[in-house]
């Protein structure tokens, strides 16, 4: 899964909550309490788009964005990354009680990563 910063995660959460594609101004309005500027939100959306996590379409003269992958898929990839790190022994001390997922993951190690890769590729193909 691509590395995601806290701001990118907050923007993704806004888009996941929305049923329709949103312009940058609407995303900014949802994140009003964080004190971000429009240019910051626009550059965050652009970064997420380049990472293949968003799809955008032009409406009038503005881009409208929607999430290209579901929240559950992204979280599944995060957990998959963590479990592969656990299997390799890197993050094992950090997490207790994770073994169910590790067992499932070790039986089908590529499934979640493939799902994410497929979703990313579909997102890129449908981008403007």
């Amino acid at each position: 899964m691509p590395q995601l910063g806290p701001r990118e995660i907050e923007v993704l959460k806004v888009l996941w909550r929305s049923d329709t594609a949103l312009p940058a101004q609407a995303v900014l309005a949802e994140l009003a309490q964080q004190g971000l500027s429009l240019s910051t939100v626009q550059s965050t959306l652009e970064r997420l788009n380049r990472k293949g996590l968003l799809r955008r379409s032009k409406v009038s003269r503005a881009y409208h964005y929607r999430a290209a992958v579901a929240q559950s898929a992204v979280i599944g990839c995060l957990l998959s990354d963590i479990s592969s790190q656990i299997s390799d022994g890197q993050l094992a001390p950090m997490i207790s009680g994770f073994m169910d997922f590790v067992c499932q993951h070790s039986q089908d190690p590529q499934n979640l990563k493939q799902m994410m890769q497929d979703a990313l590729e579909q997102g890129l193909e449908q981008d403007d």
Binding site: P6, P93, C103
Partner: protein, 315 residues
């Protein structure tokens, strides 16, 4: 050893060498420790594994400190001389020796690699923790956070401020009392700082041969999980069947033999947990005395043998 930087470097080299040697010795003897710890309750077993893993580094540090107290040397060190200088002395590690420089350099390099590796792992762990927290929401109760995924998961993450996470998939499946038991299990991990203890054990067993290190870590993790299972079971009248339903519903427990083994293990642990106060104190006494004798023997042996070994290595 006349200047401080060299003294520190030589001290670090000595600590690395003694830790490595003691670690390898204890790794070879680990199967014996497993047998000795097997009859004890899970809590004592996990503490035994942890103490055993850090014993080499702690003893090596004690030995280096003892060597610095030159006057004490005569009690365990055989009389010998260096270039006409006799009497008690700290380990003689001469400057003018290519092998000495090489040995000290390798020791420092090993220490630096381990320190960098530890720093990198902590950084990686912190990034994952931050991302996980960002993707989670507060749960129904304040003591956990919820992650939106169909996978049935419950875990405790973090070292110094452990946080419990629950998946929405698991929360949807559990009844309120089952949820309490799952949270009790994870809370037991958090209260005992199990992740921090696992980190210490993992790094302390780095010098061990891979197979033995893995076995030590598995035994330690298994004892921790069993102890936390018992805490959760206690909330439900010590029901082993309850525990099996809650924790063994996934594919890795679908096998009948695995279920039987797990049930037998939990029942045995519950019997141990119900032991009389006298029995518990007897186990604790054996535990403390056993490790005390082991530490004393290793300390004396290292004090006697470490001095000539370090001098030989830096010759």
């Amino acid at each position: 050893m006349t200047d401080l930087p060299w003294a520190l470097a030589a001290g670090l080299f000595s600590w690395v060498v003694l830790t490595l040697l003691l670690s390898w010795l204890l790794a070879v003897c680990y199967p014996l420790l497993r047998r000795l710890l097997a009859p004890l309750p899970a809590g004592l077993r996990s503490n035994g594994n942890l103490i055993y893993s850090v014993l080499p580094s702690v003893l090596a540090l004690a030995v280096i400190a003892a060597y610095a107290q030159v006057g004490l040397g005569s009690t365990w060190l055989s009389y010998h001389c260096h270039q006409g200088v006799c009497g008690t002395h700290a380990p003689h590690m001469p400057l003018a020796s290519a092998q000495g420089y090489l040995a000290v350099g390798l020791g420092l390099l090993a220490f630096a690699l381990v320190a960098l590796g530890g720093f990198w792992q902590l950084r990686l762990s912190r990034n994952y923790l931050k991302t996980m927290r960002s993707f989670s929401d507060p749960g129904i109760k304040p003591n956990y956070r919820l992650v939106q995924t169909d996978n049935r998961l419950a875990w405790c993450a973090g070292f110094l401020r452990p946080q419990i996470y629950l998946s929405s998939g698991l929360q949807a499946e559990l009844s309120p009392s089952e949820l309490e038991a799952v949270l009790a299990h994870e809370q037991a991990h958090a209260l005992q700082y199990d992740n921090l203890r696992k980190l210490i054990l993992r790094w302390a067993s780095k010098p061990w041969p891979n197979g033995q290190a893995e076995r030590l870590q598995q035994d330690f993790n298994s004892a921790l999980e069993t102890r936390c299972d018992l805490v959760a079971a206690h909330l439900h009248g010590d029901s082993t069947r309850y525990l099996l339903q809650t924790y063994c519903a996934d594919s890795h427990c679908a096998d009948a033999q695995a279920q039987q083994d797990r049930a037998a293990q939990l029942q045995r642990e519950q019997q141990l947990a119900k032991a009389s106060t006298g029995q518990l104190w007897w186990w604790r006494l054996q535990f403390v005395m056993g490790f005390g004798v082991l530490a004393a023997l290793l300390l004396l042996a290292t004090l006697s043998l470490g001095h000539p070994l370090l001098e030989w290595l830096s010759r």
